[in-house]
């Protein structure tokens, strides 16, 4: 599948490498070329063979350059909730990407955008639940 990831932080980079290793066609976009260093070092995964592009994930021209018109799955994984939300809505409503998945730290915003048709997950909720479980409560 053709995958476009916006945000090359820890999660974005690891996801890009894992999907690439599984044979998907991966493009990753980030404002800061320095963050692409995360794609390089990898003791357990093969070298990243996808495309890393510098660009703004909420800029339509940058998204077109990254191949959004033929993307099957879109991930928005930058540090900013609103940036992720806007990127996903551009992908969904302007470019009709079949699946748009969005990280939203704020659980309330995550809930709202799920109802608006964006597949959103909140690490805050997930990690809190795991921590509680670890404590055994």
């Amino acid at each position: 599948m053709k995958v476009l990831i916006v945000g090359c932080g820890r999660v974005g980079a690891l996801l890009a490498r894992k999907l690439d290793a599984e044979g998907h066609e991966v493009t990753i976009l980030d404002n800061d070329a320095y963050s692409f260093r995360r794609l390089k070092f990898s003791p357990d995964l093969p070298e990243f063979r996808g495309t890393a592009l510098r660009g703004n994930g909420i800029d339509e021209e940058a998204l077109v350059r990254a191949g959004i018109k033929t993307t099957d799955v879109f991930f928005a994984l930058t540090q900013g909730d609103n940036r992720n939300i806007m990127a996903c809505q551009i992908a969904k409503h302007t470019f009709n990407v079949p699946r748009t998945i969005c990280r939203i730290y704020d659980p309330l915003r995550q809930e709202l955008y799920n109802t608006l048709g964006i597949e959103a997950i909140s690490p805050t909720t997930i990690i809190t639940d795991i921590l509680k479980e670890m404590m055994g409560s």
């Binding site: 800029d59 339509e60 021209e61 940036r83 302007t94 704020d106 309330l108 709202l112």
Partner: protein, 221 residues
């Protein structure tokens, strides 16, 4: 009216000042504590420190009874989310967003923001008006129909000068409303109107047909 303003920068500050003078109830939500303090010192207690994109903050400031929410932070994505929260969580009737990137206008409208204001576009329009050779000026956007009112000038040497309107290939969705000629006599165009140098033609068109209409009237591809 009760108006909530997201973002207490320069735009938010002067907007609030003016709206208060007009007798509206106004509240600003601003993240930065220093900005908040300045606003509260100068305009009275009208600013609350908080994130206007958080549901909790919006609930705290009584967004559900607001008549309007105006998002004027410097970040397009923050303005979008504030407006969408206001609309979908709090049923605010009217939302206005400031945008930096003029490209976002279409997207924001599609996503339910009622009005977008782009300072980039406003300045561009003034430049268009001031540059006499620029053949097309946007005068007004008709919000509901997606149409726009434009002015097209017939520049000297245009290939269409002396031709009858019915011989021009005017796009189907565009209508010519008025012709203001250099003799200052304004008339409603008919099929037999002759195009003259310096004519200003007021037309209703769509963003899609804008270029074709300009090409048809000026003969310039």
């Amino acid at each position: 009216m009760y108006i909530i303003i997201i973002g207490g920068g320069r735009v938010g500050y002067y907007l609030t000042k003016t709206l208060l003078d007009e007798g509206h109830e106004v509240l600003i939500v601003e993240k930065n504590a220093n900005y908040c303090e300045t606003i509260n010192n100068e305009l009275g207690t009208v600013c609350i420190q908080g994130d206007g994109c958080e549901t909790a903050t919006l609930a705290e400031v009584g967004t559900e009874r607001a008549d309007m929410l105006v998002a004027v932070t410097g970040e397009d994505q923050d303005n979008l989310v504030a407006c969408q929260l206001a609309k979908h969580k709090f049923n605010v009737q009217r939302t206005i967003a400031r945008i930096r990137n003029p490209q976002n206008e279409v997207l924001f409208k599609k996503l339910g923001v009622d009005v977008t204001v782009s300072s980039t576009n406003v300045i561009l329009e003034y430049i268009e008006e001031d540059v006499p050779t620029h053949p097309l000026t946007h005068l007004l956007a008709i919000e509901d129909s997606g149409e726009e009112v434009v002015e097209i000038r017939i520049p000297p040497g245009a290939k269409t000068i002396g031709k009858l309107l019915r011989h021009l290939d005017i796009p189907e969705g565009s209508k010519l409303a008025l012709v203001i000629s250099t003799s200052k006599r304004t008339h409603i165009p008919t099929k037999n109107t002759v195009i003259k140098e310096g004519d200003r033609i007021i037309a209703i068109t769509t963003q899609k047909e804008e270029k074709a209409l300009r090409a048809a009237l000026t003969g310039d591809q």
